[in-house]
Symmetry: C2
Subunit: 332 residues, 2 copies
Amino acid sequence: MAKNRQILLKSRPEGWPTADNFELVEAPMPEPSDGEVLTRTLFLSLDPYMRGRMSAAKSYADPVPVGGVMGGGTVGEVVASRDANFKKGDIVLGFGGWRDYAALPGRSLRKLDPSLAPVSTALGVLGMPGLTAYVGLIDIGQPKAGETVVVSAASGAVGSVVGQLAKLRGCRAVGIAGGAGKCRFVVDELGFDACIDHRASDFPAQLKAACAGGIDVDFENVGGEVLQAVWPRLNDFARIVVCGLVAQYNDTTPRPGPNLQVLLTRRLTMRGFIVSDHLARGAAFQAEIGPLVRSGKIKYKEHVVEGLERAPEALIGLLQGKNFGKVVVRVA
Amino acid sequence: MAKNRQILLKSRPEGWPTADNFELVEAPMPEPSDGEVLTRTLFLSLDPYMRGRMSAAKSYADPVPVGGVMGGGTVGEVVASRDANFKKGDIVLGFGGWRDYAALPGRSLRKLDPSLAPVSTALGVLGMPGLTAYVGLIDIGQPKAGETVVVSAASGAVGSVVGQLAKLRGCRAVGIAGGAGKCRFVVDELGFDACIDHRASDFPAQLKAACAGGIDVDFENVGGEVLQAVWPRLNDFARIVVCGLVAQYNDTTPRPGPNLQVLLTRRLTMRGFIVSDHLARGAAFQAEIGPLVRSGKIKYKEHVVEGLERAPEALIGLLQGKNFGKVVVRVA
């Protein structure tokens, strides 16, 4: 019988996670109950939010218990089904976690059509990160044609869609990314108007120059010093869409935010959001973005990590910005 | 001929303003041009925003120039008119500034009916502060019946209306004020459910106890340590209406804000606003609040300062929380 490797949260990190916080074990093959489907994981999604699940701190979702399997979105192949809606060989999107095989309730799965797009895109541009970009930019950021939209982590799974959507809405799109290679990709491949390397010593000055008319929408994935550079450039009535704060996920003490005097005098709106509150927008998202991805009008980049056993180092790398594009682990 | 005393901004304050930043001078009586009205100031409004106008820092309105007359809302009596819409003896609301007499464009004035309410209320509960409370709570805070609304500076011109409006909308209203006397007034006279003294050593614990179900709307007039105590108590999807930050108006270095991790995980919306962007809501405000004030259902408290020459010390006192109710200066 096939092995069922799985990666557990061995201990909670203090600050930055390390390989020691994870443990790879072999577990018995799960048996699907009535209504469940046994899936073999093909791709596992790695995302910044997973750092939050490793902590015990109160958040919008329960933490992974110590000793529990790390959670995560997966694309899997059905190997056995006790739900009439699924049959062996179906490719499904679900929340299988960091493991080779998972028995999942059929009602939690969505069948994928491999003829429409590579199935891994259901974890990225056509999945949760894409919907995050869509809801955050369109519904919360409310960009108007001619406005300037800035997005941090611009080459990542969410940021890359935000900037391309902003362009499609007639906005000026300015990315922020870590390193010259990512910045080139964001401008040359994704079509942003500009992209600034936040590692440059004169990053704030470069950002100011790239946003001569100020910033109307800040789609914030990073926080920390990146947001500090954006803050003084925000125009009256600008919207700050707080999607992620990866710069501070490994803080051990609460980090102060920006000076609210600016928020008051410029009448800014700053709003935090979590995509799971907005799943009702999934249909509109798929209807608009699906065809654009299939026609190549919206581009995406995947960073494929080979092998489940490499997921811990890949997540740590993601939190450090070492990835280039949407991180997926090819499990099988 | 009558004297026309006026108070100038003599110098810009560094940190807290002092009496030395102001200068009382006598000026010639103004001559109204065509379309203008000469008014004798009866009441001058003092408001926290005036601290901003004393600084050169970029803001939503131009600063008062050094040597210029301090600006401010006034209720005045028409003593001469070159606008057919006004005649001698009319009582008008305008922006006359810190002086005995002002020649003002007729189109900038609103005629008041002294039979409806004491004319000074046009500077407070039925004027800019009342509209600020209305727009901030109703349009931006969007309170729903059963929710908990917290308002700082609760006995002040804006805060007192916010809490009473919240009660009328079926909310629980919790005030924050400086001192036991103000807190008693807020509960006993204004009808808030509770009011916490921010000067108490256990203020955060008292606030927590008064908001056992958390906070859904924070109407923020103060910022600083008051907001720090509110921040951890905010519920998922809470709204922070940033109306004023009087705790930091005299800062000489930018003050950091609260940790945005909470804004993200609890999906908070924080929005700064300035009432002058919302004057179109004036008619709805007057229609709803006017009758409630006249019937005594909405109460208000004025802190009347006698004499224009006392305006500087009264503004300094206002910034220190020494006032009790809406501050107006009786000029004549």
